[in-house]
Symmetry: C2
């Protein structure tokens, strides 16, 4: 059990404010081969196993057009993670650093992000590679990879502001 | 007013489920030159204006180590955006496509993400370039850019699983 939620030497937890500033709706669920957090990749790989992203109604109509993008940015809710550590020791060797300098799932708002390779679009979701979360993780957003997306909306003044 | 929250020809809204599946805490605030949504860039640029990311307590200790990364992934809450559109018409020309094929702020969970260029770390936050949000936008996460980050934690079985 100690691997799941312990505080290690050098780590620092805080008594965080109540998380009530905004609320999320789970728009789907991510199906992966990993049924335990101790099995998941630390980072998803583009040549990793095929995973299924299930999208719930009423959001399935929002999938129209995703087939135009070879890669998608996926945001998901790391529902098993504690949220109170500000310093963490990933190697459990007594050395710790700030949470914002790590891509650990333990963060004040435990949102994971990955760039997934799109394999197939289904009426109720996607088949992708590149995930790194445990089976059953709640889905919160799907966007085109920023490096592939060029805005369709008219330019605004800020688009042309350079330093 | 019509530019802010209207539904355009071809767009489709839904009656969404209550957003009560998980809750966020605002961990800071983003200060940008743009005081109106009609001024912001459609996408942040690395040579854009200097912006300040203010981090609230008790999260400032989590900044330790971010100076190791030239680029940071910033997640923020698009607090002014409606959340109910599944098909959108960015050019307002009668043509619409699914929300998940766009990087529009209007999404079931209005979370923005950008890759910011780090300019300076302060005790209470960061100076960066590359933001695209309105002044005062709530901050929800800071992570190293995935292309610069190599996990420190020991490998897990999933790291070596290839298709």
């Amino acid at each position: 059990m100690v691997r799941y939620n312990e505080i290690r030497a050098g780590e620092v937890g805080v008594d965080p404010p109540a998380a009530t500033d905004a609320s999320l709706v789970f728009i789907g669920r991510i199906h992966t081969p990993w049924t335990d957090r101790l099995q998941t990749p630390r980072q998803g790989r583009a040549d990793g196993p095929l995973c299924r992203i299930e999208v719930f109604e009423p959001w399935r109509a929002a999938l129209d057009g995703v087939e135009k993008y070879a890669r998608l940015e996926i945001l998901y809710w790391l529902h098993l993670s504690r949220r109170d550590l500000v310093r963490q020791s990933p190697a459990n060797d007594g050395r710790a650093r700030g949470t914002f300098s790590l891509r650990t799932p333990v963060r004040p708002n435990p949102i994971g992000s990955t760039i997934a390779t799109l394999v197939e679009v289904h009426p109720d979701g996607l088949s992708v590679r590149g995930m790194d979360c445990v089976d059953g993780t709640p889905l919160i957003d799907i966007k085109p990879d920023r490096t592939l997306f060029i805005p369709i909306a008219p330019r605004q003044p800020g688009d042309d502001e350079v330093a």
